[in-house]
């Protein structure tokens, strides 16, 4: 190695679900080489889904990610229902929204309190943070527990819930079974509002970078369960056009496929994309909370995603309360679904961003082909662009500080790397 080169190496990035590496070469203050890779042993879900029954998709694809199994269940059942030409009852859609709110709460709170806030405050983990901030972390754990309680009440357990099926649910709860959640959610609304104030006061690095934000959008709600694909630069199509818009590429440095907008390039999904496209559709209590801390669309600093997550948590808690207030046990838990040969598409908003599924099935309901595009794969381009942006602007930092900043930057995306693959190894090679 020439004497004018310094190297920083990070083999693994912690507090993300996965492994990856980053190598940066710097010469005379310029980034000359750049390589960001993801290493997660591939599990080949799309391959072994072939030949399985269409009804198995929600249980099997949930296993792609233990952090957001409900997202996989929701995208897969909607894809299968679209192949078979089935529309579920509106009460079932509402129950799916409630289940999804539970996942948003537990996933967002896990990330904010246990994985991301420690970065801003200089701690190694949420557990270490709890020693000095017992009230705050206690509030986070209580809030997360309430999200988990929703998923467990509707699905039997927090991770890989068992109640979801193509056409609806295996069983729908009685009103009485769900009522104990109401006081917990009222507490959770206070906790979520306090969380917005807390995270908005964290020291926030500047890193604004213009990006194309893509999310599902609905005319009458802040889209979680379904919507049309829209972007901040004019995309507006149905989910069945996913493959007309985007292309997935496989590069040597990564076991995650990278998604790009055809003939245009990278884009970003996730909380900032949703917020930038649907801010005015947030529940009023969440919108007020955002404005109180000075958050308004467009939000282009990825470090502020933690504030957006807090605002979305308020939204999810308040929406869950509303759905519970109106809840009456649906007359039937599911509509019957008979397999029809064809291709179907489903997309929903996982906590980390849009999750697209496409399946082709035969008349017996056997899967012929499967395509699953997780949010982290879609964000990989934006994660890389942020890293490059930060390296170029912070070369004066000592290696350890630069490394910390870059790791934090990756965690801005709450990357659920299991879903695509795994995370970061950093080598900065300086001239």
């Amino acid at each position: 190695m020439p004497s004018d080169i310094r190297r920083i190496g990070v083999d693994y990035i912690s507090r993300v679900e996965g492994e990856g590496c980053l190598r940066v070469a710097v010469r005379d203050g310029e980034v000359t080489e750049y390589d960001f890779g993801i290493f997660e042993p591939p599990r080949f879900f799309e391959a072994f889904m072939r030949g399985r029954r269409f009804t198995e998709a929600p249980d099997i694809t949930a296993r792609i990610c233990g952090i957001c199994p409900v997202a996989y269940q929701m995208s897969s059942v909607q894809a299968m229902e679209s192949v078979c030409g089935v529309t579920v009852d509106p009460e079932i859609d509402d129950l799916r929204r409630l289940l999804y709110c539970g996942e948003w709460i537990e996933s967002h709170v896990l990330h904010m309190y246990l994985l991301h806030a420690p970065d801003f405050l200089g701690y190694e983990s949420g557990i270490a943070l709890a020693a000095d901030f017992p009230d705050e972390v206690g509030r986070g754990l209580r809030l997360k527990q309430t999200g988990n309680a929703i998923v467990a009440a509707l699905g039997g357990r927090e991770i890989h819930p068992v109640s979801v099926r193509v056409g609806g649910f295996h069983r729908v709860p009685t009103r009485k079974e769900l009522e104990p959640l109401i006081p917990r959610l009222e507490q959770a609304r206070d906790d979520a509002l306090a969380t917005v104030e807390w995270v908005a006061a964290l020291p926030m690095p500047e890193a604004d970078r213009d990006d194309e934000y893509v999310a599902l959008v609905s005319d009458d709600e802040y889209a979680i369960l379904k919507g049309r694909i829209r972007s901040t630069r004019g995309i507006d199509v149905g989910v069945e056009q996913w493959n007309d818009l985007f292309v997935e590429e496989h590069v040597a440095r990564s076991t995650a496929l990278h998604s790009r907008i055809k003939e245009r390039g990278l884009y970003q999904v996730g909380p900032m994309a949703r917020f930038n496209l649907s801010e005015e559709l947030l529940r009023p209590v969440a919108l007020d909370a955002a404005h109180r801390v000075g958050l308004a669309a467009p939000c282009t600093n990825p470090f502020r995603s933690i504030v957006v997550r807090a605002v979305e948590t308020v939204h999810a808690v308040d929406l869950a309360l509303d759905l519970l207030d109106r809840y009456r046990r649906p007359e039937r838990p599911a509509v019957p679904v008979t397999p029809v040969a064809g291709t179907g598409h489903g997309a929903s908003e996982a906590p980390r961003g849009m999750l697209y599924h496409r399946y082709e099935i035969d008349a017996e309901g056997r899967v012929l082909d499967a395509q699953i595009v997780p949010p982290t794969a879609q964000n990989q381009g934006s994660i890389e662009a942020d890293l490059l942006h930060l390296v170029e602007r912070n070369l004066e930092l000592a290696d350890a500080d630069l490394q910390h900043l870059l790791e934090q930057s990756i965690r801005n995306y709450d990357p659920c790397i299991s879903c695509s693959t795994h995370f970061l190894r950093l080598e900065v090679d300086r001239g």
């Binding site: 679900e17 879900f45 709890a130 039997g156 890989h160």
Partner: protein
């Protein structure tokens, strides 16, 4: 000095290690009793071994991981596998009966970039395992009990009887006998709380085989419910396809 805990991940969905963070009520207490020195999903802290207890999630699917698990074994006084991937190879062990190169070509444009084994195998195929927690995902209660037991120096109690016993205790109507829904409960290890029958569906076997599972008798019961052997074979070849009892039973049917 406090005992140390290390958590390691192999091919998996992260759900079992997430269960540690889901033990909200116990998390701070556990962290007070045992020093969590290696747990990449939760902390930047990373200390070299040896460790008192190592929890291993995930299955072995790459040449690199086959070496890594041996190094980890050497560093852990007590090694515990957590979850269906670590104990049976997980759902990704469906590749074991397939052509992995063809699988790779289906998913990836450039399969030559990948360095993977033809099989997904449980940790116990590679190293000695002291205790195993089953399930997809593991039960949080069992996880907390295991850590508590190891700290107290007692043997963790990990039941191996079938889901049926838990289901009866819970007072659920038998889905196999009454509505005639195919259920793997009679041959599946308990620990989940018998949640599937409570939700009106059959158990799908995510905790793997119970001790001495009588799959032949189950096949008769499924046939009485109008469900054929091929369906049972497929049901056994799912979340714990790599468990020898299920694999052999499926072959024998």
């Amino acid at each position: 000095m406090k005992p140390t805990l290390a958590v390691f991940k192999f091919a998996s969905c992260d759900g079992c290690q997430l269960s540690i963070l889901d033990a909200e009520d116990h998390l701070v207490a556990i962290a007070g009793a045992i020093d969590i020195v290696e747990f990449r999903e939760a902390t930047t802290r990373s200390e070299p071994g040896p460790y008192t207890v190592g929890l291993v999630e995930g299955s072995v699917t790459t040449p690199h991981d086959a070496l890594r698990i041996r190094e980890i074994r050497d560093q852990c006084a007590i090694l515990v596998t957590i979850g269906a991937c670590a104990t049976s190879g997980g759902i990704q062990a469906l590749r074991n009966a397939a052509d992995v190169e063809e699988f790779a070509a289906q998913v990836y444009a450039n399969p030559e970039y990948l360095d993977v084994l033809a099989t997904s195998t449980p940790i116990s195929d590679h190293v000695k395992v002291d205790y195993a927690l089953y399930g997809c995902p593991v039960s949080i209660d069992q996880l907390v009990d295991l850590v508590t037991a190891l700290l107290a120096g007692r043997r963790p109690s990990i039941p191996n009887h079938p889901v049926c016993i838990e289901c009866k205790r819970r007072g659920s109507t038998c889905v196999l006998v009454a509505p005639g829904i195919p259920c793997l409960g009679p041959v599946t290890r308990t620990g989940c709380g018998a949640i599937c029958p409570a939700f009106g569906r059959g158990c799908y076997g995510c905790f793997g085989p119970s001790s001495y599972p009588n799959v032949a008798a189950l096949a008769t019961a499924w046939e009485a419910a109008g469900v054929g052997r091929q369906d049972l074979i497929e049901a056994l070849r799912a979340f714990t396809v790599g468990a020898p009892e299920f694999a052999e039973a499926a072959r024998a049917l």
